[in-house]
């Protein structure tokens, strides 16, 4: 994965979604919803229509213009979508997928195996595969015995969950439109594109030949881009929009108390203070470990995320199998412990403050929580400056590893623990920040141990415990809290909101009461 972790496509999904505190129960099917025009406020302009370049900026359109082969329920149970059935070979080296009959692309072309093959071809291409490319690494080859069947062969036996993740990730693109998919959507989804005004928004209309019965409910779907969270809130309150998608937690808390419906999906992000352990004082382990105690996690969660989330000291959401609450206690905010570790580092005061904290100036929460850490550092005698950068300038510094320390969220936090390595700071090889060879071999070994733990529950548990221990010991990434992403705030007229495993926006079930 080469994109920002926040924008990552969450690929696999193990059963999760336990406690989404604000989530409402799914609407009863019996509930009668009316059609109309659904107006949605979003806070980001979409990048393009390529479903293989999925990131948070186009989370709001992908599930409305396209369908994937299978879907997960919010609880992580696989469901048929464009694939009506899938058969995993007993040796787990191949899967056979049966395609749904009677599905057509927006152009009118029927869905057949050729488009799925073209989609696989694109995903496996290092240039065109984008976010899907790394996931395709397990795939050896593919074939289509007939128009309705696709067989995917793997290089080695693959766990069932990983196969399902791949199917959930595969979004068929029409073969003849695959080269222009960035500018012209070529999917089978419940809505078709009407028009787009760059920087302002997007207008979709219901796909009359959609294969799911009685869906979509609304005839028109209008997205308006707001640059300000407050402006989007005002638009909702004044009735100019019906839904805000992916607004701030703070606004959501306020709007909820004002009587609006708030839905938070199962996908979470964890904010991580990333440390470049190849630079300056951070080469010193004891110095790094002090940062475990320098994070005022409760303050960060409250100021940055309006308290929506949990404080964590490990990159796992509470739902993750590797989650261990004891670490949060043992590595709580404690300036005295931090001072002791700093003293133990043997670094001079001048060496300790010889770095700047990179800050994402485009993200208000990042600016705030960085100032909280800056203040904590000031209290232990490390006065540092913030290096605030905007937009692309920040992203390139973040991904290029051109920083000493920075806050950046990571995804995949409730999935199989080794999935955390999809985030750049946690990569075990070709890590853009820490480079090769990896400066923390204990961590690389711990990840390998988790991946190799195929024995009993005790062995798995031991491998997780080992990973947690290594993470706080090496301290090159200091998680602070989990938080919500893809929040949906809706007016009370709106019903039928469906939560999606990765918090993508699904409009086809939404209607007016």
């Amino acid at each position: 994965m080469t994109t920002v972790s926040r924008r990552q496509f969450c690929m696999a999904g193990i059963a999760l979604a336990a406690a989404a505190p604000l989530a409402m129960s799914l609407p009863a099917i019996a509930q009668q919803l009316k059609g109309g025009t659904l107006r949605v406020a979003v806070l980001s302009e979409l990048a393009n229509y390529d479903p293989q370049q999925l990131s948070t900026v186009n989370f709001h359109v992908i599930k409305n213009l396209y369908d994937s082969l299978i879907e997960y329920t919010p609880e992580g149970k696989p469901e048929p979508s464009l694939a009506t059935e899938w058969t995993i070979a007993p040796d787990k080296t191949s899967v056979s997928v049966k395609l749904r009959d009677g599905v057509t692309f927006h152009s009118g072309t029927p869905l057949k195996a050729d488009s799925v093959l073209a989609t696989l071809q694109k995903g496996a291409d290092p240039k065109r595969g984008k976010n899907v490319f790394s996931t395709m690494s397990i795939v050896k080859d593919w074939s289509a015995p007939d128009d309705r069947t696709v067989v995917i062969n793997f290089k080695a036996p693959v766990p069932e969950r990983q196969i399902l993740d791949l199917l959930q990730f595969l979004i068929p693109i029409e073969a003849k439109g695959i080269d222009t998919v960035e500018t012209v959507p070529a999917g089978t989804g419940p809505f078709t594109l009407v028009s787009r005004a760059v920087g302002q928004g997007l207008r979709l209309k219901a796909n009359p030949k959609y294969w799911r019965e009685k869906q979509p409910i609304v005839q028109d779907l209008v997205f308006t881009v707001f640059s300000e969270d407050a402006a989007a809130s005002a638009a909702l309150e004044s009735g100019a929009v019906d839904i805000i998608y992916n607004g701030s937690s703070r606004s959501a808390v306020r709007l909820k108390s004002a009587g609006y419906q708030v839905f938070s999906g199962p996908g979470k992000l964890v904010q991580v203070f990333r440390i470049n352990s190849t630079r300056g004082p951070f080469r010193n382990k004891s110095y790094r470990q002090a940062f475990n105690h320098l994070m005022d996690r409760a303050g960060i969660l409250r100021v940055g995320y309006a308290g929506m989330g949990e404080v964590v000291a490990q990159p796992w959401a509470p739902a993750s199998p590797a989650f261990d609450a004891s670490y949060t206690k043992a590595h709580a905010y404690d300036l005295d412990k931090a001072k002791a570790l700093l003293a133990a580092s043997g670094l001079s005061a001048a060496e300790m403050k010889d770095w700047k904290m990179l800050v994402n100036g485009s993200d208000e929460a990042s600016v705030q929580i960085s100032q909280i850490v800056q203040a904590s550092l000031g209290k232990v005698g490390i006065p540092i400056e913030l290096d605030i950068r905007q937009g692309a300038e920040f992203v390139s510094a973040l991904l290029g590893g051109d920083f000493a320390a920075v806050f950046g969220a990571v995804g995949n936090v409730q999935k199989f623990p080794s999935r955390v390595t999809t985030n750049s700071i946690y990569r075990t090889s070709q890590n853009p920040i820490l480079k090769d060879p990896h400066p923390h071999p204990a961590y690389v070994a711990a990840i390998a141990k988790v991946d190799g733990a195929s024995g009993g529950a005790a062995e798995v548990k031991a491998s997780y415990d080992n990973l947690n221990k290594v993470l706080v010991d090496e301290a090159f990434a200091i998680p602070t809290n989990s938080y919500e992403v893809g929040l949906i705030v809706a007016s009370d007229k709106v019903g039928g909101v469906t939560l999606e495993i990765d918090n993508l926006f699904v409009a086809r079930t939404i209607g007016f009461k």
Partner: protein
């Protein structure tokens, strides 16, 4: 020198006679004193108290607290220092660069005039904010960068006014007299012409100070001003606007101080222009913002 001081006092007295300008003077004096003596006041703009964030105005924090629990009044006071230092530095550097450019262009009036004034026109054609942001993108965020960016935006005004003044003055007899007894060009420009062109330039400096404060605040508001945690009015507006629902005073009070400061500079500049208009011709046109 004593005569110059006397006439300055005279102008001050005349200005204070108006109610609007005397209020403006008083307010600016208050802001300036606060900025200068911020350190001796019992105010701390940096210490966070996360438990007491976004508090409404109270006896302990007259302007309330911000999202990190910092005292907003303290940040307004220290923000005055940021604003005034940036504005003052920008105006001075704009004058130091713009005035000589205008002097040379107006005095010689030959190819030097054409070349310099075309450069000034180019500078004038660039939108201030955009140019400042581009400059900060290159220089990085710092008070010095903001100062330079705002200062460069002010150069054309000074250059144009200095040029107009020189063109009007260079034909006057006392300038000819100096030239005829052998005064060199730079001697004439800086010793003979400049002292006579000073009043419109001073008015321009005051008007520009308000523009500079506004521009500095705008840059901070756009997130390219002085980096946090250094307090800045524009930065407080930027952050405060997100809390308009929870803590309206967070953005409103710093905004009010900013507005009053700019209005005060403007009022004084306006009154001074009117006063000088009666004394001499050639007062600069006020460029709209």
């Amino acid at each position: 020198m004593s005569a110059a001081l006397g006439s300055a006092l005279h102008v001050l007295r005349r200005l204070s006679a108006r109610r609007g300008t005397s209020f403006s003077f008083a307010f600016l004096l208050l802001v300036a004193l606060a900025a200068v003596f911020a350190d001796v006041l019992p105010l701390d703009p940096l210490t966070q108290n996360l438990a007491d964030s976004l508090m409404p105005p109270s006896a302990s924090a007259w302007f309330g607290t911000d999202e990190l629990g910092r005292d907003i009044l303290a940040r307004v006071v220290y923000g005055a220092r940021t604003s005034l230092v940036t504005a003052f530095g920008a105006v001075v550097s704009a004058a130091l660069i713009g005035v000589p450019i205008g002097l040379v262009a107006g005095f010689f009036g030959d190819w030097r005039d054409s070349v310099l004034m075309r450069c000034i026109d180019v500078l004038l054609a660039l939108p201030n904010i955009l140019f400042a942001m581009a400059l900060i993108a290159v220089l990085g965020r710092s008070q010095a960068a903001a100062l330079v960016a705002v200062g460069i935006a002010g150069i054309p005004n000074f250059a144009r006014i200095a040029r107009a003044q020189v063109m009007a003055l260079r034909q006057l007899d006392f300038v000819t007299a100096v030239r005829s007894f052998g005064g060199g060009s730079s001697y004439i420009m800086f010793h003979t012409i400049l002292p006579n062109a000073l009043s419109p330039l001073v008015v321009q400096a005051i008007v520009l100070a308000s523009v500079a404060i506004l521009l500095e605040a705008a840059l901070a508001f756009l997130g390219v001003g002085v980096p946090p945690p250094t307090p800045s009015w524009g930065e407080m507006l930027r952050t405060g606007k997100s809390y308009l629902h929870e803590a309206p005073t967070y953005a409103v009070l710093p905004g009010l101080v900013l507005t009053l400061t700019i209005l005060s500079f403007d009022t004084i500049g306006r009154a001074l222009t009117a006063l000088l208009d009666r004394h001499e011709a050639g007062v600069p046109e006020r460029r709209g913002r």
